[in-house]
Symmetry: C2
Subunit: 673 residues, 2 copies
């Protein structure tokens, strides 16, 4: 497309408006990152005005293109675009950039009603989210699209920086995206040659084009300030159906700043009064007022509103026709978008059997039991499906151009975390991912973001303790539970047996308000006789009395989770025989327990009973909340070791004798020390 | 080199001995990974018998080549080699594979006296460790080598698997190794086309050769069972001085097993009786006894002992001549290898000044103060040196072919963690790395391994709370402290002011028994008047009474760390005025505090005083150990927000009023609730 002189001028004005709104907002906040929006405004302009299909007046329109600002520090670029194109983000909000209670946080925070598709900032995460979004687009399309009715048909665009590409999670996700041939994924790489410590030459001299070609991406190179080149590259990328696209755009950080352009000084600090002035002069921008939007610029950008309305209306019409032709599918569509599980979905849930069973084995039965009714249940494993039990039998693979339901994340836990987030964004899907608990460390930054965004991701973390056995300390989690439990909004559940595991799974599948981590044993565990002991349904309360004393006086409380509940119950038998008034509390989830009323919590753990022992084959950190200073813990205060699991439990003191001894010691009785 | 028929036969016997020792050990343990040693034995044989310069009778010989088995699940490959070449690892130990107390753990565990150079198993870690080892080799060579005296001159060989290369940490480390041009690094990539879930085709279809070429590695391809090809490739790799080498070796997992070769069934389970028999038949191996070593094979491998003695003696002679010529350097060499810091090193430590100072700012003064005396102090940042204060001024960069002291890890926290471990292995260096505390999540798996190996790595984690301010919740650590504190053997220190920060740094530099994480504030903090209050030297005890009550009765204890100590002290002033007997405990390090005798701990926190408030702008998980069930916490129970730091502290209740209120509430006084 060739522009006339006046059109070119208008284009420059539009691009400079993005730049200067960003500069002024950072300046007013005296905090933020001006360099990225200044450098990449032309790319954003071309993408948002010529390609992005969106409706500013309905950011939740299903079939919109997604935009991911993986380089989240450039948040003002996004806020500028949202304001200019007509989203519910006023200029006053932009003036409140980075202030308490504003909608313009330092880094973009997931706001589906505002057009912010995902929370970014920690580098590499947005890159992986976009891959997950593309998986979601393809998977939903596979389920719902019918000839003539492409009701799911959108692109995922992203802007990624040097820092994004340096992060390992991006490498993992890029490799997987190439394997999957995600043609709807189009990333602009903001190649500005500058990182915080200076020129990227000091650490990042790889050939990015060659690297992404090795992942089987389509790669193009453009001048990031040449709108025509950018447009042509985006056009070509949209036409590439079987490979993700990377457009390497050479840009200048801090574009327009006479003294800071192309330096790290433009990255993370306000330009300053003087440099702001010089920059405005250089770009022929009025020095006053700040937050200036030239005549005509807003109209130009706001065309997005009309376009968006038309596009959404067209889509609605299409959907109406679709609903007439495929009423069952349309009904299912509406249900999944309301987050409703279909009636009778629980019919597929398994019953616990009598014989001992590893809690990890429950997973396969649950997933395969409910999969026929829950078409939106899709996930996989970081190359540990056989060990974690997460394979959906008979549903095929989601690989290459196949659209089955089993994702193979490979040995890429971090990308799995980021991709699951992308799959969960926008609802509809119930994504899950599995690995050993120890490797939750590899994906921790993504788990945290799932919790922050309240995404309904299900993590299946098996091999949950020294019960791992021979694989040794590198594979035996110690501190992982404490770390996960400390994440606000992550529900961590470590079931004691198959009956608790089933209830935990039910809760996880129904929960839409945030991620759930299911912590499962490698080793077989007895099944608690629920006729004799309290119901496993109590798991939803987080903690409950599973075995109580028949005596008048309760003297001692044993609190345990997972495998160690059985140890506690065996000790309960011995202690009861010896005349101790003892209770066992199964405490599968601290956060669920803390969500109960104090009255209930005090029933389970009466304040008057201070003789308490917490038993868990993991770090003791956090358990004193329940045992207090006067109580005791039987936990792992060191790394594990390589030996058969039974030997390890014995060697590390997870024995009835030891529990009895600790309990008696608290009561000051003989047999304690 | 061309072999005669009988030599070829002997070679095959040697290779099959490695295979069958591995098969038998896994079979006896009924646990382990036979497929990798079976598949990669020829590679190992060629490397260990023709290239690796080592002395089995002195695994600590400084100038040995290093061997890293990044694919740590193939541990029996390494144990077989160690036994066969004459290390202190008996056949009986191999028969004790994966048993309690044996030297043959499930995954290799760092044992410098046994020839195990690093702990591996979690994939990708060994890959990064090797990069760190190569950094160490080059850096020490730069300091100590002199014309005619290459006393530091060794290669780092590694064996890496599909899984290693899928992990993001390997991508990060490979990119950095290419940038650094680490010619001494030679990796064999075990390209067997199989991962746990099946063919790598399901998830790993990238072009590895192209990818590593993009990182600027030298790449070759060989048949992993063709000893001549392997030898030639290793020869060429050794000659490549300015690029790391990747030799892509096509191998067959479970080589020799009629029914399991080239299947994931050979990966992680014993072959089983019948398949073991069939394999031995196929490889013309005696069925009995297990652990068979044919005549002549041991002699062949054990030539390493004589060779090793000669090589070490030659090197010793070289070193003697070197010491005669360069006595000062030789003396320094001996000192650093004994882990001694030079006399007077502390002279460069800064003094705290009166004016408020961020604890992060102390770092730059310490590092630059001691750097002239501590030549082995080397480190860098994951692209945050300006913010974390870790740049050594005037010492140049360690990049490309420059050998300065500032590493630029790029936005690659995980590789930084793994590389720091590799730099620390074998002692001599004092490596440090810095990033924001929030990004410790990205490198957590490497931190854990540093703790497990007891490596003297120093982590500098700044921007330690909501004090981050405007960058918002994605950048504000909440759960990170709890997670780090739960790692056995990691010393976590969060100093309250510049005076504590200086003591913490001194401790970190002197500590050789394990890693230290220094948790530093972004924001300025007042400096506690140590004339009036207790000495900062008390930091080494982990917790101490910084401000006490003058009253007869101690009623209330405020426990805090870092910035929140000042809040506690302000509340102390108010409460004291109001007649409350209150004490402030500064508790910079839980693990140091737990290392004190109970007598001391009880002096600081008298058991009789149960009214206690813990104050820390982080997750409360773990604090009840000190405040008990009856105490209270003022912590962060949610994610943070984007706003100026002062606003956040106010909004989240970190105010004197709130502390006073909480304290009084515990005492049942008016003003509490």
């Amino acid at each position: 497309m060739t522009l006339k002189g006046s059109e070119r001028e208008r284009e420059d004005q539009c691009i400079n408006t993005i730049r200067m709104l960003s500069v002024d907002a950072v300046e007013k906040a005296q905090s933020g990152h001006p360099g990225m929006p200044m450098g990449d405004a032309a790319l954003a302009y071309v993408l948002w005005t010529r390609f992005l299909r969106h409706n500013p007046k309905n950011p939740r329109w299903f079939n919109r293109d997604r935009f991911v600002l993986s380089a989240g520090h450039g948040s003002m670029l996004l806020y500028s675009l949202l304001h200019l194109t007509g989203y519910d983000l006023s200029l006053d909000e932009i003036k409140q950039f980075r202030q308490w209670g504003s909608r313009t946080a330092g880094h973009p925070e997931y706001s589906p009603d505002l057009g912010i598709e995902t929370t970014t900032g920690p580098l590499g995460q947005g890159f992986a989210n976009g891959v997950g979004m593309a998986v979601r687009e393809r998977y939903l399309g596979q389920i719902y699209n019918r000839p003539g009715f492409s009701i799911v048909d959108y692109y995922i665009y992203g802007m990624v920086s040097d820092g994004d590409l340096m992060e390992g999670i991006a490498s993992e996700a890029a490799s997987m995206a190439g394997n999957l041939g995600l043609g709807k994924l189009v990333y602009l790489y903001l190649d500005n040659g500058i990182s915080i410590e200076g020129s990227t030459d000091i650490t990042f001299t790889e050939d990015v084009a060659q690297r992404f070609a090795s992942y089987k991406w389509d790669v193009q190179k453009v001048d990031g300030n040449d709108c025509d080149q950018i447009g042509k590259a985006l056009e070509k990328a949209r036409g590439e159906k079987t490979r993700p696209s990377l457009i390497i755009a050479r840009t200048s950080i801090g574009f327009g700043s006479p003294n800071k352009q192309d330096t790290s000084g433009a990255h993370g600090s306000p330009l300053g009064d003087e440099e702001t002035k010089l920059t405005k002069e250089r770009l022929k921008w009025p020095l006053e007022p700040p937050f200036h939007i030239p005549d005509g610029v807003l109209e130009m950008f706001r065309r997005a509103v009309d376009h968006g309305r038309v596009m959404e209306n067209d889509w609605k019409q299409l959907f109406e026709n679709y609903a007439a032709r495929h009423p069952g599918l349309a009904e299912s569509w509406r249900a999944i978008h309301e987050g409703k599980l279909p009636d009778g979905w629980k019919e597929g849930m398994p019953e616990a059997e009598d014989q001992p069973m590893a809690t990890r084995s429950v997973t396969g039965r649950v997933l395969n039991g409910v999969a026929p009714k829950l078409a939106t249940l899709i996930g996989g494993s970081a190359d540990l499906a056989p060990s974690t039990g997460t394979h959906l039998e008979g549903y095929g693979d989601f690989i290459h151009d196949e659209n089955g339901r089993n994702l193979h994340f490979g040995v890429r836990e971090h990308a799995m975390g980021g991709i699951l987030n992308g799959m969960a964004l926008g609802g509809a899907l119930i994504p899950y991912g599995s690995t050993f608990l120890i490797f939750s460390d590899y994906m921790k930054p993504s788990i945290r973001l799932a919790a922050m965004m309240k995404l309904p991701v299900i993590y299946i973390f098996t091999h949950d303790s020294i019960g791992v056995g021979e694989d040794g300390p590198t594979h035996q989690p110690i501190e992982q539970l404490a770390g996960l439990r400390a994440i606000p909004g992550l529900t961590v559940i470590r079931p004691a047996d198959a009956t608790e595991a089933i209830v935990a799974w039910e809760l996880a599948l129904e929960r839409r308000e945030g991620p759930v981590a299911l912590i499962m044993s490698r080793q077989k565990l007895p099944v608690i006789d629920r006729q004799r002991y309290a119901s496993a349904a109590n798991l939803t309360k987080g903690g409950y009395v599973v075995a109580d004393t028949a005596r008048d006086t309760l003297e001692l409380i044993l609190i345990a989770t997972g495998a160690e509940v059985h140890l506690a119950m065996d000790a309960h038998t011995t202690l009861t025989k010896e005349g101790v008034g003892v209770r066992v509390v199964s405490m599968p989830s601290w956060d669920l327990f803390e969500g109960q009323e104090k009255g209930y919590r005090d029933t389970v753990l009466p304040p008057s009973v201070t003789a308490r022992v917490a038993i868990e084959a993991a770090s003791p950190v956090g358990w004193h909340r329940y045992v207090g200073i006067e109580g005791d813990t039987l936990c792992m205060e060191r790394f594990g070791a390589s030996a058969p699991a039974a030997v390890l439990f014995e060697q590390f003191g997870f024995t009835v004798d030891n529990v009895v001894k600790k309990g008696k010691a608290l009561l000051g009785r003989r047999g304690g020390d």
